[in-house]
């Protein structure tokens, strides 16, 4: 067998030589040494050349096995194989006036005779032998050939590195990275990435703040390459980007804020399993490519297309590790659990992303709780810290419930709705306790109005709890006033507390992700869920 061919180099398409065969050529054949059937048909090729008219045989690796007496073409660059769309070797093409009028793939005596009109062709050969795959279809090669010889499909500016430059360092020098090395976005990689979506590369997904620059599918794909995504992740990246661009998510504010937050991407539905996302052990940590790179791609798009760079218009005082990436899938192994996406309006069974502007996580350890009520009170204590223990209806929260904690709720028959309602109820705080200045802490809520307040007894407060379960938390400035039953304020906006299931089986943990306050107005800034266009 011959030496492996020299595959096309990862460089820009060049003005290639005219690959059109001369008009007198009637047949083209494509073969490779590393193919038994190609060796088998060598006598037939010589027969065609002698009896059927001019033939040019293109060899993809080593043409020595063809012997003398044939007009051969070195196609180790695979340009001709690419241009003629050769998928199998041997392939025989018939030309008329330079245009293809028929082809036969592999060896079929009947087909080759019909194609050539030579009734005695391959008399000594078997009736049929399957061919082998063309080298032009080996992994990674189609994209390389498309980049080199195909129509120019990528519109983004091309940047040629210096001959001795390390492309990874070039990406650093140009400011394209988040501080970690990126995958250099070569034409082959970008084309391969674009194959992950049916959307046109030129489609504009939206304008990315803060620069409000248009982001095409192609630009998203280039940044997905940088992030290390596989092509099948691209629809999730695009879905996450579309969610981030919903005005309700306020990506501009999240990016430019002095706070800690960054987009937290939660993936639901069949796509999560299909692309191998992690919803189990260490779901919020490292080690899973899809989790790590999808979130990173979104942040790189904000950086590179939107111009959201730290220290410039990204004014985060401390930032957070989520500004690199924060993405995971929800554990949907329990069919009785309503997925986060469905609870937020997505169609059951459809893949979807939910974007939450969140800080890093605050772990909650409770190893003693055995009842749903105990656990609820315990988790509520941890949730009080979101934003600040004395700030209410300020920032949203995403509570990640790991399996052992969820098992307590499941045993009690509590689903998402009941857990959330119970948490809201447990989070009601006396207004006096969270008022500005209370407890010697200046931060807090504006002091409640005394005028018009009515006293309520404990029974009425229990009724208030029941209302919370029915209608969500409401500010209760109409209760209290007697010092014993003070007005109660909810910790979160009625929709400001979200639950998601994730994590490994062992460990009685949950985690609180504090959200970006968005000016303290939930309607101005809130999580966004969007179904993924696959």
């Amino acid at each position: 067998m011959g030496a492996r061919p020299r595959l096309p180099a990862a460089r820009a398409p060049t003005e290639t030589e005219d690959a059109t065969p001369a008009p007198h050529i009637r047949f083209l054949a494509f073969v490779k040494d590393d193919c038994e059937t190609c060796h088998l048909v060598a006598p037939a090729l010589r027969f065609i050349a002698a009896e059927g008219g001019s033939l040019a045989v293109h060899w993809q690796d080593d043409g020595a096995f063809l012997g003398a007496g044939l007009a051969t073409v070195d196609d180790t660059e695979l340009e001709h194989s690419f241009r003629y769309g050769v998928e199998t070797v041997p392939t025989l093409l018939r030309l008329e006036d330079g245009a293809e009028t028929g082809r036969a793939e592999g060896w079929s005596k009947e087909d080759w005779r019909a194609l050539t009109g030579l009734g005695a062709l391959g008399a000594a050969l078997p009736a049929h032998r399957p061919g082998c795959g063309s080298r032009s279809l080996e992994p990674g090669v189609p994209e390389a050939l498309q980049a080199r010889f195909g129509e120019r499909r990528i519109r983004a500016r091309r940047i040629e590195t210096a001959p001795y430059a390390d492309p990874v360092e070039v990406c650093y020098d140009r400011g394209w990275t988040d501080g970690l090395p990126v995958v250099p976005p070569t034409p082959e990689r970008v084309l391969r990435m674009l194959a992950g979506t049916r959307r046109d590369a030129g489609d504009v997904i939206g304008r990315i703040p803060p620069a409000l620059a248009p982001c095409t599918v192609e630009k998203a794909a280039i940044n997905a390459v940088l992030a290390g995504c596989r092509p099948e992740y691209l629809p999730v990246v695009i879905g996450a980007l579309e969610a981030a661009l919903d005005p309700g998510f306020t990506l501009h504010g999240v990016t430019c804020s002095t706070c800690f937050s960054s987009p937290v991407v939660v993936v639901n539905g069949p796509v999560a399993k299909r692309i191998g996302m992690n919803a189990g052990i260490n779901a919020l940590g490292q080690g899973n490519r899809a989790n790590g790179t999808i979130g990173r791609a979104l942040n790189l798009i904000v950086r590179n297309v939107g111009g959201g760079r730290p220290g410039e218009i990204d004014r985060a005082a401390l930032g957070g590790p989520g500004k690199y990436t924060f993405c995971f899938a929800e554990d949907e192994t329990d069919p009785e659990w309503e997925p986060l996406s469905v609870s937020r309006g997505a169609t059951p069974g459809r893949s979807a992303v939910t974007l939450f502007a969140g800080d890093g996580l605050q772990g909650v350890t409770d190893r003693k709780a055995r009842t749903a009520e105990e656990l609820t009170r315990s988790l509520a204590m941890a949730l009080q810290a979101v934003g600040h223990p004395k700030l209410c209806e300020w920032a949203p929260a995403l509570l990640v419930v790991a399996p052992e904690h969820y098992g307590i709720y499941r045993k009690a028959g509590w689903g998402r709705g009941r857990i959330v309602a119970a948490l809201h109820e447990a989070l009601l705080r006396p207004a006096e306790k969270v008022a500005q200045g209370a407890g010697g802490v200046a931060e807090g809520m504006p002091r409640p109005q005394r005028t018009g307040e009515k006293a309520r007894d404990h029974a009425s407060q229990r009724r208030a709890g029941a209302e919370v379960r029915r209608n969500g938390p409401q500010r209760r400035t109409d209760v209290g006033g007697d010092g014993r039953n003070p007005p109660l304020v909810p910790k979160f906006h009625p929709e400001g507390l979200s639950l998601v299931r994730a994590g490994g089986d062992a460990g009685m943990y949950s985690a609180v992700l504090a959200g970006w306050p968005g000016g303290g107005a939930y309607k101005e800034s809130h999580p966004v869920t969007r179904e993924i266009e696959e």
Partner: protein, 95 residues
């Protein structure tokens, strides 16, 4: 490290931002209106109140403007309003 050039595709928006020269600061605030722009941060009002009193003590005319929320950029309508009715702007940016 490779010894052949590598072609890369630009991941950025590829646009050069339009830059406009900042107007020269006025030599005096006489007959000028100072916009006091509250972007919605929690204590911006305190700062702007203080500044407003200080400016009024010097007989400088002021006018208050505000964004509805600090979560979103100022709308063109708000910016146009400021441009139409004021000569200089002070923003209350931080907490």
């Amino acid at each position: 490290m490779t010894h052949v050039p590598v072609m890369l595709h630009d991941p950025t928006h590829e646009a050069a931002p339009a830059t406009r020269a900042r107007l020269a600061a006025p030599a005096t605030l006489d007959d000028k209106t100072v916009a006091l722009f509250d972007i919605g941060k929690s204590r911006a009002g305190e700062f702007l109140d203080y500044l407003e009193r200080a400016l009024h003590d010097q007989d400088v005319r002021t006018r208050r403007f505000a964004k509805p929320t600090n979560a979103k950029p100022a709308t063109p309508a708000i910016l146009g309003d400021i441009a139409e009715h004021a000569d200089v702007v002070v923003e209350g940016l931080a907490d």
